[in-house]
């Protein structure tokens, strides 16, 4: 997942003041949330960042889930003030939705046995990149 952010210095300073005595020791973090099936945000982990302008690739995560990120100030006592929130991003699914990991060409249940016999089981997955591949596009 790719994140970028730009914060105005006055926005960060205002947040520090709001945090009171702890504010000066606050550090900028990316707070990563998973979106639950009910639509609420579940905090998963923080990524410490430096700079009010920056970018970061965050290696995630389980397939078929929705994620969102806040950039904000976190104090040593774990108080957190969000300063900006990202859009929601989805990770690719592991396989066809509502089916097994493979799809069957001609998915009608009565046809599956014959399809199996014909070797029509087709795995749809993420195409691996091989150095010799012409998959430039």
């Amino acid at each position: 997942m790719y994140c970028y952010w730009e914060l105005r210095p006055e926005t960060v300073e205002a947040a520090r003041r709001k945090l009171g005595a702890d504010g000066g020791k606050g550090i900028l973090v990316l707070r990563v949330y998973r979106l639950t099936p009910e639509g609420s945000l579940e905090w998963k982990f923080d990524v410490e960042i430096s700079g009010q302008t920056g970018e970061r690739f965050i290696p995630i995560f389980p397939a078929g889930e929705s994620w969102s990120v806040e950039v904000g100030l976190r104090t040593p006592s774990s108080k957190f003030i969000p300063l900006a929130r990202s859009n929601v991003s989805q990770t690719p699914p592991a396989g066809p939705i509502g089916e097994e990991a493979s799809i069957w060409v001609g998915l009608q249940p009565e046809h599956r046995a014959s399809a199996s016999g014909l070797g029509l089981k087709m795995r749809i997955g993420w195409r691996e990149h091989s150095p010799g591949s012409l998959w430039g596009k």
Binding site: Y4, G106, L134, G136, K137
Partner: protein, 501 residues
């Protein structure tokens, strides 16, 4: 590149071969094909190639291996000049249209500057502008609104569906997993079109026909007897021999004259043998046809409707990257156009007309082609920094368009140029070139140039500051694409123009 392809279609039509294909003509290609400056440069380029091949015929005289190859290229260049000047009279758009008029071809288009739409999700107006400006450009050149739309890099997200529907697009194409991962799962995978929530018909790419042509390991173009793309006399000849034919102050570049075959991945290349290559073309065409028949028979046993195998290829593959691609395509078309052929060529409009039973409705998943199938070629460490600028520029364009509901005079020209610069900055080519490290400096230079000109215009207009009109004239002259663009495409109240209106 398009002349040999058009020549093939012309010969097939003259012989009354009843083929059907769909072809996407991008707005950028249409603009270049119609551009007088590029046409005159092409004339010059053709003459230069003919002079080069003359020189090569003299240089290789007495060589039983290379002299026939030099003559082959000379004949090809002379044929191209004849096609360009006499048969198509420098009007290749007219040539493509004629194939549509005779029912052999279905012309579709793509996004204005081949912008990578999935990464514009945060700016729906940017997606809409890419789609609508592309459709309008197509209409200006071809004379009608497009029914079909090629998604740049096969990139799909739900917001794309809305933009296509709003612009009256009837069908588009997705990478296999976009269909296979749709919700609910389509019963026949990519072998039957489905309908999106917006009502757009979606055709899924067949992975087998893709692999047989595109794979560097299994694909036909990688055959050892085929011509090697990279060994070119532009790089191989002595400086003295090639210098008179080089442009741009003598920088070595590919000329199209290539004397060697692929041979193997490592080691010495052997000279190209057109006879052996032609034999492999026949074998590969036969293999392709046999595989489609096998595939169709297997699918027919489990499907209640005729299976559809959607084979999608870049036009530049045929004759450019894959020298033997055009004779291969000719054999495949001839074979599948036989009245008795069990596998027939068809085009999307035919499928839409025949889909009387209704189509499976499903929401496709985010998908692209290329590295691992989810944006990765166009968003990685090397090129990610482009997107903050593109997103910010789209937001600013939207704000300024909202603030100027009906600008006129110089302000209107400025805002139109701002949209033009933004569209050009959005081209997927820049991120792709940077990722591939092919002409990275040029790609970054182009991107920065468009974004900086865009920013200068927007700052001036928003602050009501004067701008040098000569500077604007120069920017317009450098970017003659989309002469009738209207910046109000970035206004929320801008209506998409439905097909047929």
């Amino acid at each position: 590149m398009y002349l040999p392809l058009l020549d093939l279609f012309h010969r097939l039509r003259a012989e009354r071969v009843s083929f059907r294909i769909a072809l996407s003509l991008s707005p950028t290609l249409l603009s270049m094909l119609a551009d007088p400056l590029l046409k005159s440069r092409y004339e010059f380029h053709l003459e230069n190639l003919i002079r080069l091949s003359d020189s090569e015929c003299r240089r290789t005289i007495g060589s039983p291996v290379f002299a026939p190859l030099a003559r082959m290229y000379r004949e090809r260049f002379l044929l191209c000049r004849d096609l360009w000047r006499n048969r198509f009279r420098t009007d290749l758009i007219g040539a493509f249209r004629s194939f549509e008029q005779t029912g052999h071809m279905e012309l579709i288009t793509t996004a204005a500057t081949h912008g990578f739409l999935p990464l514009m999700e945060v700016s729906p107006e940017a997606i809409r502008a890419q789609v609508e400006v592309g459709c309008r450009a197509f209409e200006e050149f071809v004379g009608r609104r497009p029914d079909g739309f090629w998604l740049p890099e096969c990139g799909y997200i739900p917001a794309v569906d809305q933009a296509l529907a709003r612009c009256g697009i009837r069908y588009t194409f997705l990478e296999t997993h976009g269909i296979a991962h749709a919700d609910p799962a389509p019963p026949f995978g990519p072998y039957a079109p489905i309908q999106s929530p917006g009502g757009v018909v979606l055709f899924g790419r067949d992975p087998e026909t893709a692999r047989q042509v595109w794979s560097g390991v299994e694909g036909y173009p990688g055959d050892s007897w085929y011509r090697d793309f990279y060994r070119d006399i532009g790089f191989d000849l002595d400086e003295e021999a090639i210098r008179p034919f080089l442009y741009h102050g003598g920088i070595r570049t590919a000329t199209g004259m290539k004397y060697y075959r692929i041979t193997s991945a490592v080691g010495q290349k052997e000279p190209y043998d057109p006879g052996q290559a032609q034999r492999r073309v026949q074998e590969h065409a036969d293999h392709f046809a046999a595989e489609r028949l096998r595939q169709a028979r297997q699918l027919s046993q489990v499907m209640r409707q005729p299976p559809l195998i959607v084979a999608m290829y870049d036009a530049e593959l045929f004759g450019h990257w894959w020298f033997e691609g055009i004779p291969w395509l000719e054999l495949v078309i001839r074979d599948m156009s036989r009245p008795e052929s069990p596998v027939r060529l068809t085009a999307p409009a035919d499928i839409l007309r025949a889909a009387t039973a209704g189509l499976h409705r499903a929401s496709p998943h985010l998908s692209t082609w290329g590295l691992r199938g989810y944006n990765e070629m166009w968003l990685q460490e090397s090129n990610a920094s482009f997107y903050r600028h593109l997103h910010q520029a789209s937001r600013r364009m939207k704000e300024v368009a909202a603030a100027f509901p009906s600008a006129d005079g110089l302000t209107r020209r400025l805002l139109n140029q701002a949209v033009r610069e933004l569209l050009l900055a959005q081209s997927s080519d820049w991120a792709f070139i940077v990722a591939e490290k092919t002409a990275e400096d040029y790609a970054r230079w182009r991107f920065n140039r468009h974004i900086s000109r865009f920013t200068r215009i927007i700052e001036c207009v928003s602050r009501h500051e004067p701008i040098d009109e000569e500077w604007l004239k120069q920017a317009e002259k450098e970017t003659p694409i989309f002469p009738s663009i209207d910046y109000r495409i970035y206004r929320e109240d801008h209506p998409g123009t439905p097909a047929g209106s």
